[in-house]
């Protein structure tokens, strides 16, 4: 295995900020900062037949914050926005689809199972995190090194 040159400080600072966000959301509102749980909760409400405004509004505001926070970071730091290059539309659609399906069926993603689940020492979240990390590694191996599609 080759290891790329990398920077640790900025990722660590970003991680601390994410941890702080999860801390404040749980302490103040009693909510777990799992982004798919928050985002897909909007979908569940909207398709429930009797959508509750209070359940939708805070979720949408969190997502607005998420987008605003990323924009502000690039605006203030001057760091260039990452570009997505040469990704075929088929890859985007199939990838997006299984990410949505998988996180819904598995009840969580990197933030819900990873950051928050591990934080509250949930064995279920630990197993989920190990599983999606493992399959992420296998996926990159297959699609990049065996098939060469990414």
């Amino acid at each position: 295995m080759e290891v790329a040159e990398f920077e640790a400080l900025l990722p660590l600072a970003g991680g601390l900020s994410i941890g702080l966000a999860a801390t404040l959301l749980l302490m103040l509102s009693g909510r777990i900062a799992g982004v798919c749980g928050i985002a897909f909760g909007v979908l569940t409400e909207l398709t429930s037949g009797a959508p509750r405004f209070s359940e939708i509004s805070w979720r949408v505001l969190f997502i607005v914050g998420l987008v605003g926070g990323a924009a502000l970071y690039h605006f203030i730091s001057g760091a260039p926005m990452p570009k997505v290059d040469n990704v075929s539309i088929g890859v985007l659609i199939s990838g997006g689809f299984i990410v949505g399906l998988g996180t819904k069926i598995g009840s969580g993603c990197t933030s819900g199972h990873g950051v928050c689940g591990l934080g509250r020492l949930s064995l279920r979240s630990f197993v989920a995190t190990c599983t999606f990390m493992l399959f992420g590694v296998i996926s990159v191996y297959i699609f990049r090194h065996l098939l060469g599609v990414i």
Binding site: A4, L10, P11, S17, F62, G96, V99, G100, G102, R124
Partner: protein, 137 residues
């Protein structure tokens, strides 16, 4: 209050994702590329975030209730079942394929990039299908 808390925590979360490189699919795939040229930097994101929650959640969950809400809304399931494993496996596969997980993909709306939008639409369609599949019938 719930609205203000949501915006502020969203801002911190989104800035953290952008600063850490999680919104850069190339970086994410580099992190998952153990068999190629591995970029370990994203370990520090997860590490930094989990160190904070590991400590803070200890204290928070001892409170009788959150500051601005009646109760904690905690996940109730502790089951380690095929549903969990299949879901996580599907998610991991898609995460590796494109390099976006749901949080960073939503934050990346800020980049006004059509690829992200296509990914997000497909993601919500997948989640909707999952929701319908899970409905008791």
């Amino acid at each position: 209050m719930a609205g203000i808390v949501a915006v502020v925590t969203g801002l911190l979360f989104g800035a953290g994702l952008a600063a850490s490189g999680m919104t850069n699919p190339e970086k994410v795939q580099g992190f998952l590329d153990l068999t190629g040229v591995w970029d370990p930097s994203l370990m520090f994101v997860m590490g930094g975030a989990v160190v904070v929650t590991l400590i803070s959640f200890r204290f928070i969950l001892k409170l009788s209730r959150p500051v601005f809400s009646e109760q904690f809304h905690m996940p109730s399931s502790t089951a380690i079942d095929t549903r969990l494993i299949i879901g996580a496996a599907l998610f991991g596969t898609g995460w590796g394929l494109v390099g976006y997980c749901p949080g960073p993909a939503l934050a990346a709306i800020a980049y006004l990039n059509s690829d992200v939008m296509i990914f997000l639409v497909a993601m919500f369609v997948g989640a909707f299908l999952g929701q319908e599949l899970l409905k008791p019938r």
